[in-house]
Symmetry: C2
Subunit: 218 residues, 2 copies
């Protein structure tokens, strides 16, 4: 026994999310449970859709550019939130919010803290309508989620967000997302670069990552 | 017994589909089994996305206008076809195909024949790359699916497709779709006008129609 057992790295999936994206919120709420059930390790990477949208000539969200699509999205959010047991979604004003600072803060903090911080930002934005571009709002959220050993790392993230290295890291994440073919959020990529778009594809992405890691046919 | 039992109409769902739409194909392949399991009666209504896209300034499919979105769609189709046990999807040339004649033929035929005809058109287009705007292609498909009593009705549909009343009926279907808020295909609407967009929302649409018909909370 033993010789035929190869030690393989665990399945991994990158979760690409944009703080202004409603469906990224839904994905952030459920990805940890789905990943645990699938045995997949998830890396949370915030990125910006703005530059990617701008590259295809869009100056705002497609949900604003195409009103019927936007009306459907907000109605779908109501239904999805009810199905998921989440508070009723509210439309922040303006929509989309400027997500730059939140994305820099997430980039600046240790990866292990991102899920809790990111969900706090989404809930503040999409259930309370709070302005996530406001530094004081983010400071309050950071204060609420920091406890014990992590308190300092969490609170340092707002200062660290202004560092040139953090700004560069977020720009690099967005460039990498675009190079991977990402055009919307949430998206998921496997180690080999297989891309899945949308909260509705999360389960398939997990299954793909799991098969890919064990060398099974895809 | 009996007095407290109200005779309710069966749950109904309208399936709005566009012949040039890849995800409408996937929906057409599975909707009958899903509807039977849910106890929902489905009305198949072909419509045209072209006029709806044109109204928002698009001259072709968003999968062509936005190349990253298009690449993802074709890759997603490969994965979805494999999961559903369908033949590998091929990209017809040109994409999208002109779907006007196929939609008129579907409109002209008895509703009971539409599922079989529509799937034949989708498979010819998306697994064999045949040109569905070609009258001879549609004639051959109609010949293949017509049998017994339905043969005449099926074959008459190609002639009937040119009738002013059929052209008007298809224009009316497209106008009704737009009035219902439809902006993409496939879409599903319940008796009350609740709109669901996308093959991925089919199950939710069925469940909604079922609850709506029995007067359950939505």
């Amino acid at each position: 026994m033993g010789l035929d057992r190869v030690v393989r790295p665990p399945p991994r999936l990158v979760f690409w999310y944009e703080f202004a994206s409603t469906y990224s919120w839904l994905a952030a709420e459920r990805i940890e449970a789905i990943a645990a059930a699938a045995g997949v390790a998830v890396t949370w990477r915030a990125f910006l859709l703005g530059p990617i949208f701008a590259a295809q000539g869009w100056t705002t969200s497609p949900f604003n550019l195409f009103p019927a699509k936007g009306r459907n999205m907000w109605r779908d959010m109501e239904r999805q939130c009810a199905l998921m047991g989440l508070p009723k979604a509210v439309r922040p004003d303006p929509f989309p919010q400027n997500s730059l600072l939140a994305a820099r803060v997430a980039t600046a903090m240790p990866e292990s803290l991102r899920p809790k911080f990111s969900r706090a930002v989404y809930r503040a934005q999409f259930t309370e309508g709070r302005p996530i571009a406001d530094r004081a709002v983010l400071a309050a959220l950071l204060h609420d989620i920091g406890d014990g050993e992590s308190a300092r790392a969490v609170q340092d993230a707002l200062t660290a967000a202004d560092a040139p290295a953090v700004k560069a890291a977020l720009r690099a994440a967005t460039a990498e997302a675009q190079a991977l073919g990402i055009f919307g959020a949430p998206s998921f990529t496997t180690a080999s670069g297989e891309l899945f778009w949308g909260n509705d594809r999360m389960e398939q992405a997990m299954a793909w990552a799991e098969r890919e890691a064990r060398g099974a046919p895809l």
